[in-house]
Symmetry: C2
Subunit: 121 residues, 2 copies
Amino acid sequence: MSFREHIETVCNNLEGAVACSVMGVDGIEIDTFITSAPDNEMDLKSLLIEYSTLLKSVRDAAEVHKAGGVTEFSVNTEKLLTVARLISPEYFMVVAMKPEANYGKARYLLRVTAPKVQAEF
Amino acid sequence: MSFREHIETVCNNLEGAVACSVMGVDGIEIDTFITSAPDNEMDLKSLLIEYSTLLKSVRDAAEVHKAGGVTEFSVNTEKLLTVARLISPEYFMVVAMKPEANYGKARYLLRVTAPKVQAEF
């Protein structure tokens, strides 16, 4: 399976999913599958790029303070829930969903899918 | 009830809780209840201060990209899970716990406790 199939599978198994993406912590997108626009005004791709920059800062902060490697990073807003899971220190998978989506299931889907994506690297 | 009682209640109801804190997004702590040192090497208070700075960046990014107000922010590492919930645009509650703790319960406890803390402001 390619990246695309894995990220598509995550979206297809999560009601309320908006997008799933494989990205670098430098903000460069490897592949993104978008199911629906979350909101006409929201700039989803730019938001994910901003989050990836923050994920890099989170990773560095955790390292400096001896908290170990970052496994998961999540930001929930009034309009969008996002959960990111590190695939490697440089790459992560992220799923964005509507606020009414099943957050616990999104975490589960990332946990089981991330190793499969990692295997493709 | 004071802040202290609320944050103590969160820790007492969450097995594996390490600390619960009410902080400003400027990194200034209002009150913190620490149940146990998570790791001899980890500098928990400094880590929470770093996370609070990142939370401020997350809030600003979400605002710029029209994603609405941030409700929750979470960073999980190999040694420590942390969930933060905004009380107001300037203040948040955060709970830090061991990796084996019940993350879902921590989110629930913050969701029900944050409005009580907010009422004390």
